[in-house]
């Protein structure tokens, strides 16, 4: 086969930042769906994560547009995407879908935390009191009727949130899947694959965040909660990987003109990140380890360890998957006669260091958020909230309204 790429394809146009964009929105969608499993579907075993998952989604949501903005050639025209949207473009929907989802997540968070905010406002002093008073937006009624309304609103918002989260991320898949010029992207399965891998990555992220936060707080992890995550992770990982394989199998079986290029891409250009990291470490090993994590004959410590290792592997695997789609797709020259070269950069724009910085931002935001709005909840059978938890180390007085 001749080796030739079009002269304009020498530079890979979408770099690491565009790899981060679907990765981060995927984590948002996945984390949100975990919170909805509790709030909408009443999966009470996920209660310890019901709040943590929501503010994790929010923290990542704040950062989601950053890599996109940083990538734009004309940053100051970014809002034109909302002011003068071109409606045949999938990308034109970004501003609206993102804003809608952000408002939804903020509203849900506010309604969930309203009772706590009012309580913190009434028990704190000085600046903290002013701060929580502002956060409460003046809605200070925490009578059982009002709380019941809050609860209903949360359920409704969480229910609207599920299709929205699916849309938010399915749409990202559509951005890639609808590009007919690129044989590795162009498939109607792309939105579904993106969505399933998003859920997978969100669950995996929560497993890790749960582990790290429990360790920092010197608390035991709730085993039923972890096992529930383990089960969901396994099911969604299986679905995601089946569809990913189906796509490649279908392309290979049809063996159309582009297949030689796609096969060459997977076996010669990105075998390490595709076969190794995405499929091997990210799918195969977790698929085997996760059921062992649920095996009751093993000790709780080992079961936790297996689940956490699987979570970490899946998280890395999904990042590799985003890389293989975004960068891999651009390596195939549209001349169908060669592959472009991707150059890893360390510091410059879209380099590894700036990417790691963007990737760590949501975690910084999250660690600030858990101080303001503590999300810690006991297990399904335990008390509603950990009694120790206070924001900014405020000394709480016994609640007037009491626990529901």
């Amino acid at each position: 086969m001749p080796f030739y790429v079009f002269p304009n394809e020498i530079e890979v146009n979408w770099g690491l930042f565009i790899v981060l964009y679907p990765y981060i929105t995927g984590l948002v969608a996945g984390a949100f769906i975990v919170s909805s499993l509790y709030h909408v579907f009443g999966k009470s075993e996920l209660k310890p994560l019901s709040r943590l998952s929501l503010i994790t989604a929010l923290a990542f949501l704040f950062v989601a547009p950053m890599p996109l903005l940083a990538h734009l050639g004309q940053l100051f025209r970014a809002f034109n995407i909302m002011f003068t949207p071109h409606l045949t473009s999938a990308m034109a929907g970004f501003g609206f879908i993102y804003s809608f989802y952000l408002i939804l997540c903020l509203l849900e968070t506010w309604f969930i935390y309203r009772e706590d905010i009012v309580h913190y406002a009434s028990t704190s002093k000085g600046f903290t009191k002013v701060f929580y008073n502002i956060l409460s937006l003046g809605a200070k009624d925490i009578s059982p009727t009002a709380l019941n309304t809050d609860h209903k609103v949360v359920s409704i918002l969480a229910a609207i949130g599920i299709p929205s989260a699916c849309f938010l991320h399915g749409y990202v898949g559509f951005i890639f899947g609808s590009i007919k010029a690129n044989p590795w992207w162009s498939t109607p399965l792309m939105p579904v694959i993106f969505l399933l891998s998003a859920i997978v990555s969100g669950i995996a992220l929560l497993i890790l965040i749960y582990r790290v936060s429990s360790w920092l707080r010197r608390q035991e992890m709730d085993l039923p909660c972890l096992m529930s995550l383990n089960r969901y992770l396994w099911v969604f990982l299986l679905l995601a990987s089946v569809l990913e394989l189906l796509e490649v199998l279908h392309m290979g079986y049809e063996s159309k003109e582009e297949w030689d290029m796609v096969r060459g891409l997977l076996t010669n250009e990105i075998p390490v990140t595709y076969l190794g990291v995405q499929m091997g470490f990210g799918v195969l090993i977790p698929l085997v380890l996760l059921p062992f994590g649920r095996w009751r004959r093993l000790s709780a410590g080992i079961r936790q360890l297996l689940t956490i290792i699987s979570g970490a592997l899946v998280l890395i695997g999904v990042l590799a998957m985003r890389f293989n789609v975004v960068i891999g797709g651009q390596l195939i020259s549209k001349s169908l006669a060669g592959y472009a070269q991707f150059h890893w950069r360390l510091f410059s724009n879209e380099g590894i260091i700036p990417s790691l910085f963007i990737l760590s931002l949501p975690l910084l935001i999250l660690s600030a958020m858990v101080r303001v709005l503590p999300p810690w909840m006991g297990g399904a059978e335990g008390p509603k909230k950990d009694s120790m938890v206070t924001p900014f180390n405020i000394k709480l007085q016994p609640k007037a309204s009491g626990n529901k």
């Binding site: 949207p85 937006l137 200070k140 609808s178 007919k180 001349s335």
Partner: protein, 258 residues
Amino acid sequence: MVKETFTRRDFVISATKVLAVGILAPAGALPAARRISALETAQQTPVPQLWRGKEWSFLIDIEKCIGCANCVGACKKENGVPLDQEVYRTWVERYLVDSNEKVRVDSPGGGLNFRQLDIKPEKQFFVPKLCNQCHNAPCIQVCPVGATYKTGDGVVLVDRKRCIGCRYCIQACPYGARFLHPILKVADKCTWCYHRISKGMLPVCVQVCPTGARKFGNLKDPDSEVATLKKKARTRVLKPDMGTKPNLYYLGLDEVVK
């Protein structure tokens, strides 16, 4: 003094306020959107004088191209495309097919740096490439802000003041005709020298072609060379299966060319 009870009525009022804030940002878009639709109506009613009776088309005779790449250099200079960077509005590909049907393609420096090769191919030819100005252009479809559009006389242009530099159009073009302008940081591509053809001149690549391999003209003028050739000769377009309906036609195009 804060109200002690929070009634359903209060909730509705607060929720309305929150919603109002949420809607405020997108609502800012309305005046801008209205301006656009006004522009569209203006375009629909009278065809601008500039476009009347014109449908530009481009035709390349492969047999005549000698690979001198005069066109590549002239295009870069005419259109302010940096000479020292790997970005091209037009380029020339060299195809060498040996006796085993093995194809070798290259386009060093877009064709500016071809070097003599020691191999003796069975068949060799040059293929100049440029924007196909598709009738059904994927780049127009995917542009999120409508910065890329089609003129009434059949040319796809980029509005440099609107382009946000997202590079989605570069991904969507099946021909690799688009690139991000390294200095202006907006999408760029061949315009068939729209600034020249609107004044009755030829695109610069056509002008400098020493063999007449590149032909440009008005399809609505039956006497133009392009119109006659398109009627009589057997032409082909690139990647017809993409459904882009290119407006750039080739004479004598080999099947190995993608």
